[in-house]
């Protein structure tokens, strides 16, 4: 029996206890009931295109190896040697037929099978049941539009059901052109001293901070300035299961003010509209979070990222820059540079966020500050289900309606003993 979070998250009143951002016991429960249970993003398929290609990541705090085996099939395996528990592969990326543990030399195939044990005959007398000591695979592995996800929970609903109505919104980021997207080579990885939920909620629905936190970057030409107009349109959308999307008015442009990008976006607009259908004439999705820790953006820069939890007050931020696969080379280059300059450790937008999330987390250490709930009341009662958008929608483009849905889902998972309980608490039928 874990900690009862019932009184910590009150989405009816818009009050969130600060205990959930700092207490080690709550963090431990999150690792069990959120990160070992939910579908988590691994990497993009284009990062491991050929047999043997691998990518090291983690699910929660568990190290995971994503690898395409010699036959071309993708596996996600706990990156932990089954003998003494050593971390098997220490490289970020590469290409391998086999992985050998640095400690005693146990060797695994790129499908996870244990294929080599030194002194097998002499020391184990040939009695080791090798077939039972392969790398632990995830319980379920699937992809959506090139995005690879996995879960350690065999009871989790299938990926498509888990994503639910957010899929159309994912298409608006990752499949708006023929061929979808590709990832620019290399990644950004850095450590930020904050609780993982601050960035997740920020990308889920904090349009509000842009017009204050990021004014300096907007005024110095790192993005377009429509956000500073109080009359601008847009709505925050919660398509269910804790996923959340920020949209702007379909006529507004959120792209970096770089001539190549502006011209490209204008040129492809009709075909994007045709591909995405009538909903695209109602909203223009620009930011979002797939619960719990996968976020994406196409305003200012094209990035998707994972907020890897590393304790209650620390994350590793892993971030990619992506481009439409069909875009011409000069547009891809402009997107690469917009990513470096806007959303990266040096990003003129991003660097200010790190600082705010750090201090939001740090002040939770004070016992008095911790007694004060976070105000999550913006737009309370000014949200409604919109059938055309297949989501709960806020009445104004600034609201904390998405925050409330995110934390409602968080609380459901933290209370539920199993996926069956989550489904009944959420009032949705499964199967």
């Amino acid at each position: 029996m874990g900690i009862d979070v019932t009184n910590l998250v009150d989405t009816e009143q818009g009050l969130i206890s600060r205990r959930i951002f700092i207490e080690p016991e709550i963090y431990a429960q999150e690792l069990e009931q959120i990160f070992a249970r939910c579908w988590l993003f691994l990497c993009h398929e284009s990062q491991i295109p050929q047999p043997g290609d691998f990518f090291s990541t983690s699910m929660g705090e568990d190290p995971v190896l994503v690898v395409r085996d010699s036959q071309g099939q993708v596996h996600a395996l706990l990156n932990v040697c089954r003998h003494r528990g050593n971390r098997l592969c220490r490289a970020d990326q590469g290409n391998a037929a086999t992985f050998t543990c640095a400690y005693h030399g146990w060797t695994y195939g790129n499908d996870g099978q244990l294929v080599g044990v030194p002194y097998l005959r002499e020391a184990y007398f040939g009695e080791l049941a090798q077939e039972r000591w392969g790398l632990l695979p995830v319980a379920q592995l699937d992809s959506y539009k090139g995005l690879l996800f996995a879960t350690f929970d065999p009871e989790a609903p299938p990926l498509l059901e888990y994503l639910g109505a957010v899929t159309w919104y994912l298409d608006a980021f990752f499949d708006r052109c023929e061929g979808g997207i590709e990832v620019v080579g290399g990644m950004h990885k850095w450590v930020v001293p904050c609780n993982w939920k601050f960035p997740a909620e920020n990308f889920a629905g904090d349009g509000y901070h842009v017009s204050w936190s990021h004014v300096s970057a907007i005024r110095t030409g790192f993005s377009s300035n429509f956000r500073l107009q109080p009359t601008s349109g847009g709505t925050l959308l919660s398509p269910g299961n804790g996923h959340a999307i920020v949209t702007i008015d379909p006529t507004d442009v959120a792209d970096p003010p770089v001539p190549e990008i502006v011209a490209y976006e204008e040129a492809i607009r009709p075909q994007v509209a045709q591909r995405l259908g009538p909903r695209y004439s109602l909203v223009n999705p620009i930011v979002g979070t797939v619960f719990p820790n996968f976020s994406f953006l196409r305003a200012t820069a094209r990035t998707f990222r994972v907020w890897h939890p590393r304790g209650p007050d620390k994350i590793e931020l892993w971030s990619w820059i992506y481009v439409d696969k069909a875009a011409p080379p000069e547009v891809k280059e402009a997107m690469r540079l917009a990513g470096v300059r806007g959303f990266s450790p040096s990003g003129t937008f991003e660097q200010d966020d790190m600082d705010n999330w750090q201090e939001c987390t740090r002040t939770c250490r004070g016992v008095v500050a911790r007694r004060l709930a976070l105000n999550t009341q913006m737009g309370l009662g000014h949200e409604r289900y919109n059938k055309d958008l297949q989501a709960w929608a806020s009445d104004y483009r600034f609201s904390e309606s998405n925050h409330r849905q995110f934390y409602r889902r968080w609380a459901q998972l933290m209370r539920a003993g199993s996926w069956a309980e989550v489904a009944s608490a959420a009032g949705v039928r499964r199967g």
């Binding site: 050929q50 003129t348 660097q351």
Partner: protein
């Protein structure tokens, strides 16, 4: 390389470092040529090909170099124009990562001066340790190597190209809001 040239380059780099530490960014920017490329590549952990940790399946596609290439992601990839806008951002009074500002100390060593590709240029190698202190207890160490191309313009040295190579793959600092 003649000793007086080496001495001159060293003094130029020390003065440049002092301008950064004193936050005299507009004066610092004037030390860069108009066509400067100011580049900090990314980095990842790789096993070298000889490593016995892996049995490589496809040696033709195996990549052991850690640094990202010029057309891949970088931590900084700037022109004089974008550096100028980064400085303008700091002057808005709303660049929160630098408000309150970082206190930096740029320490340079291992300076080597070599001939450039053309007569008016030099190649300069240096190691750096940049210490950043901020607010009450924040501190970061940015350690790495720099490779510069210095160009003589109207009798004065200017930086025509700077490559900044950090040693960390996962950056332990929460951001890169300073210059190198």
């Amino acid at each position: 390389m003649r000793a007086e040239v080496v001495r001159e380059v060293e003094q130029f780099l020390y003065r440049e470092a002092r301008l950064l530490d004193e936050r005299r960014f507009r004066e610092w920017l004037e030390l860069l040529t108009d066509d400067v490329r100011y580049w900090m590549p990314g980095r990842s952990t790789r096993y070298p090909k000889v490593s016995k940790a892996l049995g490589i399946l496809d040696p033709d596609r195996y990549r052991e170099e850690e640094l990202t290439r010029e057309d891949e992601l970088a931590i900084l990839d700037e022109t004089k124009e974008t550096l100028g806008r980064r400085i303008a951002r700091l002057e808005t009074g709303m660049a929160w990562a630098e408000d309150p500002p970082s206190r930096t100390r740029h320490l340079l060593s291992n300076i080597e001066v070599a001939p450039g590709d053309v007569a008016s240029e030099l190649k300069v190698f240096a190691n750096f340790l940049v210490y950043r202190s901020r607010a009450e207890t924040e501190q970061d160490f940015y350690v790495g190597a720099r490779q510069d191309v210095l160009r003589s313009v109207d009798g004065a040295w200017k930086i025509a190209r700077r490559t900044i190579i950090l040693d960390q793959t996962v950056l332990l600092a929460k951001n890169v809001s300073i210059f190198f």
